[in-house]
Symmetry: C3
Subunit: 133 residues, 3 copies
Amino acid sequence: MTVLSVQTASRCQLVSITEQVSRAVEQSGIKQGICVVYVPHTTAGVMINENADPDVRHDILSHLERMVPFECSFRHVEGNSAAHIKSVLVGHSVTLIVEKGALVLGRWQDVYFAEFDGPRRRLVYVRVVGSPG
Amino acid sequence: MTVLSVQTASRCQLVSITEQVSRAVEQSGIKQGICVVYVPHTTAGVMINENADPDVRHDILSHLERMVPFECSFRHVEGNSAAHIKSVLVGHSVTLIVEKGALVLGRWQDVYFAEFDGPRRRLVYVRVVGSPG
Amino acid sequence: MTVLSVQTASRCQLVSITEQVSRAVEQSGIKQGICVVYVPHTTAGVMINENADPDVRHDILSHLERMVPFECSFRHVEGNSAAHIKSVLVGHSVTLIVEKGALVLGRWQDVYFAEFDGPRRRLVYVRVVGSPG
């Protein structure tokens, strides 16, 4: 298992981790298999989306905020229920395909760590399974 | 494959299944790998979230209800379209990492069966793949 | 890895790909394992849901549209931010269990390619890992 560290800079932020995940795949020695990217937090998640226009990231975060406003009335006394709910909607893991020793992503895809209650230092776990042949 | 059985007690409920999933991982004999938790229903799902304050579970369920009200006008005659939609948003599987024969979860994380059209008796499938070494 | 091709017919559409995924599992020769279905696009996703009443598919798509209206005001100049956001909510992969050489699905479940910015020709990648024994 490879452990990545991500420092986020604001309450909500999408940080590309494609390069670090790709490196973990290469170092695993697995040629044909799958790669699981797992976020061990409850107010952050991981998603796939567009790597080109940064406005897409902006629109994703602002619409999630419209759907789950941080200032909504919630019971949880820490006041960050919106972050928990967003992480449930986005999910805590993505499963990717590994082919010829490399991550298979669509042309416009990046893997993003999704911060919903930052800024914080966060962890991401990467596991590759398959055959080295 | 291990089959778990979950009895839910209300229409919407989050039931922790972390212990049963952990046991399935231990019994599999796999030391390094991944664990897939799969829900074979269409009005229930599975999610990762906080294991400490039960208010977080309450806030997640009540906000999902705000986003997808059960009484919304839908076409499906069984009247439970909201449950189908919530299960799509939450998802039907989670993929977890197995290290040294044990499930790797964040300190505050539990695995929850998410009931959206109960009370019912439900099934959860668990599959562990990897190496026993 | 098996590559499937899906032609969609409208902007938003759920297309069952269960048969093609099942065939890929059978051809892989894997008897006990898991199957990852991956969508390499950023305005489409993949989900599990009901295979019986087509009104469920209608209700899922129309409620997603209510939650993320295509005509919402967004920054991204291509004008399809709603499709990006829906794909994030639904997800880009599903992980299924393979038992005795066949896909394990619930009685009412199908695997659906979820188009949110069609009509287009799309790709789906399928990877099966596990043991042939």
